[in-house]
Symmetry: C2
Subunit: 229 residues, 2 copies
């Protein structure tokens, strides 16, 4: 099975994603953290939750969930960056930029300005136009950066007894890497991957998350899903 | 019945919107154009199409569709701006900015950079951050600018025998005007209005249209609809 490493895999989104990817039965996962003990605890929770899951599982066995430091998980074919935008540069630096050579790197990061009292969130675009375009500059030129999973409500990843049937817009400049990430997307619940064009489109996709949170805050909705059909 | 004026009402979107609004049976429409004859022809087509429509119509009578110059339609309570972004300033100037005093003005305008050969469209944000924020500067301070209907595929408005069940994100800084536009939205087919927060959010909503066109171009889809649920 292919291996997916999640940098920052002990956060809500990272751990939830690990569950979902393992559940799909087509990939093994490595959860990464700055502290190996935290990564191990998260991997144990993921493994346990998959054993007690009551949902419809794939015919075959589920993927395994291992763990390691953030540097360790870079041995994977596909690396998911699941850290806040303002921690990306220091995380990549501490791991060592060479670890990302030729890797497929997924960003699901959406920088936001939060105005919870006024009931809205706004995109907080870096000068490059999007988090993804900024992150691309931090990675070696041989890394293939793809954006995906940006607009899934963080709470939805963890609830592995629930079906996820959202549209997932996948953007990137490397055709093959994009196809690989679309395959990964297709392996998770009933997510529908859609080719969203070049990485230059990532700013649009990233900005949908603060919109979706605003829609939830203002319209009495919870965990708003995004569908393009 | 309340009156809705459509500036640039002889374009695809304008004429289609006129049909849909009249069809809802809660508003009368005035189609505006620089040339009164063109507006009259469009209004005739709208009226005729409503008579031959085979869809489920509201219980009561449909709204009437009148016409006039762009300046004439500013007598309406609600004014929809349906002209390309680069024509907005000259259109407002030729009508006379005073005509917009205290009016509810709806922008559904999405400036875009088009790369059809490369199969993607990108948002073309003015320095203000969005078309709406730029247009707000062109209007008198007493005008209440609201964005709505930005993400509906233009071809979908006209096909009045088809149900429209999309999510319509409505943004603006005037609470009452926003509620009025949400009511108007609710009167059209089965559109679902959602409060999208302040006008500062309009850039996100405008940028979804080039994304949606890109999704259509790249994924073999037609007239992609947007749903938040």
């Amino acid at each position: 099975m292919k291996l997916v490493g999640i940098i920052g895999g002990t956060g809500n989104i990272g751990e939830g994603l690990a569950r979902r990817i393992c559940q799909g039965g087509k990939y093994d996962v490595l959860i990464g953290s700055r502290e190996a003990a935290k990564a191990e605890a998260a991997a144990c929770r993921v493994t346990e939750s998959l054993q007690t899951c009551t949902c419809e599982l794939p015919g075959g066995p589920v993927g395994t969930c291992g763990c390691g430091t953030n540097a360790n998980v870079c041995s994977a074919d596909i690396i998911i960056l699941s850290v806040p935008f303002d921690k990306v540069a220091s995380t990549i630096e501490s791991i060592g930029v060479a670890c990302f050579e030729k890797k497929i790197v997924i960003s699901l990061i959406n920088p936001m300005l939060r105005y919870p009292k006024e009931k809205y969130f706004l995109p907080d675009r870096p000068v490059e136009g999007s988090a993804a375009l900024a992150i691309q500059k931090m990675l070696p030129p041989s890394a293939k950066l793809i954006t995906a999973f940006n607009n899934v409500a963080s709470g939805k990843w963890e609830l592995i007894d629930e079906v996820l049937d959202y549209s997932i817009v996948v953007c990137g400049d490397d055709k093959e890497a994009k196809a690989t990430v679309m395959d990964l997307t297709r392996s998770i619940s009933r997510l529908q991957p859609l080719d969203g064009g070049p990485l230059a489109m990532s700013g649009v996709v990233e900005s949908i998350t603060p919109l979706v949170i605003t829609l939830a805050l203002r319209n009495g909705l919870k965990d708003v899903g995004v569908y393009f059909r």
